[in-house]
Symmetry: C2
Amino acid sequence: MFDTAIIGSGVAGLSAALTLKALRRDIIWFGRRDLSEKIARAEKIRNYPGLAQISGADMQKAFLDQMEREGLAVTEKQVTGVYHLGTHFGVLCGQETFEARTVILTTGVEAVKPLPGELEFIGRGVSYCATCDGFLYKDKTIAVLCTVKGLEHEVEYLASLAKKVYLCARYPDPAISLPNVETVTGRPLAVEGGVRAERMVFDDRTVGVDGVFMLKAAVTPAVLVPGLESEGGHIAVDRQMRTNLPGCFAAGDCTGRPYQYAKAAGEGNVAAHAANAFLAENKRESL
Amino acid sequence: MFDTAIIGSGVAGLSAALTLKALRRDIIWFGRRDLSEKIARAEKIRNYPGLAQISGADMQKAFLDQMEREGLAVTEKQVTGVYHLGTHFGVLCGQETFEARTVILTTGVEAVKPLPGELEFIGRGVSYCATCDGFLYKDKTIAVLCTVKGLEHEVEYLASLAKKVYLCARYPDPAISLPNVETVTGRPLAVEGGVRAERMVFDDRTVGVDGVFMLKAAVTPAVLVPGLESEGGHIAVDRQMRTNLPGCFAAGDCTGRPYQYAKAAGEGNVAAHAANAFLAENKRESL
């Protein structure tokens, strides 16, 4: 049982991890080894205190160096669900479960809004995780919407299983060329079907499918954490970054604007302190 | 008329200044040229994202370099009052007044709580500003409580005016040696008097005085800004760092715990964005 599971490896996640490490808490931190595609692609950041006119690539390098010096490592697993189990949380990564007393959500925001039908068909043909659900589509036909280049390896994995993949890449310069992958250039409009998803609708065509994979940098938090309260598309939090679920905190872009590195760093710090206080409080109660 | 007056030059103030500069707002930023004694004295900071295991001195250097690159300068004046004048704010620095449409308070926290009698005798013998009120005590006897070494020049200035100064230095290694300055080693307990302050009480002695100067790194915000709402000794703010006064925002330690650099940076950023939105909103209304 971990003290805290941090979900997301942007600046908010890093800030929370650094602070909980300094507070000697036992954490598991889910994300990407290279932290965040968004950071790496940023052109020039002019208002992050202490890093003058830094490029996204250099900021990423500074963060990775810092993690190494502090002995922090990211667990590269895709979190597919977070369940509040009363006294603690179950964090699902496909078939694996991890347990933690507290959770800090730093999942970022996805610029792409859910499509009509997307949320409706979750678990009935719509999936966010290639490694969790890919095997269900062996020799079948699927559509894959991929919003970040860093997830191309998941597209390749899906193509190794499925008979046919319709790939809609929502980022510049997709670099996948496989015989069973057909690139769709149209804009995705909706997922349609009956009991299960059956069709993926683009603005230039509609394709029949057995399933749709939405490979995004950030999963909609309400999808990830059942029972979590939202407010205008963001996770609702108070000044201590507490969500409506006791022991569950959130920080960074997922809690709302401004979408800024300094704000994310600050909120990650506050969430870590709040989680630490929550852990201390619960310890006392269980004695 | 400035768009925004930022009051305080810790990390929150810097973060707000950087962001408003990036947003091309016309700001005035009150503080110290060396930013913050607290930062410079910090031993080692291990949880500020992007600056790995940095000393306070190196962090200060990074901040000063960044300010130079962004063309940001601190106005070295002691703010003695902030007055909400309906459509804008008047910022008083002794005899001078500056006007700004919005204010961001980043005044930090003072570890030392107000003494009994301190708030009661403000303007009747208790002052927070040597340059503003020092001339009132020419050839008189005063007590000076100084909590930071960086304000020793103000003590010297007061000693050049007053006949006699009882100096209570609340920091390590005070370095003032003047014939009319007597160092008091006792702990300050209270300010006493009748219509005006008449006595400064220490735990080992009581001295008769004409006035008491409290030279602190941070002035109690409620003293600085009449009408400002507090909560448990901190400025009450919402998630957008708005105070109860329209157009007045606050960020950093003055809004509450945790007293952390990352939190201050984040709140300064959010306050700057909120001030920017407020300015845009008011602009629209006045058209």
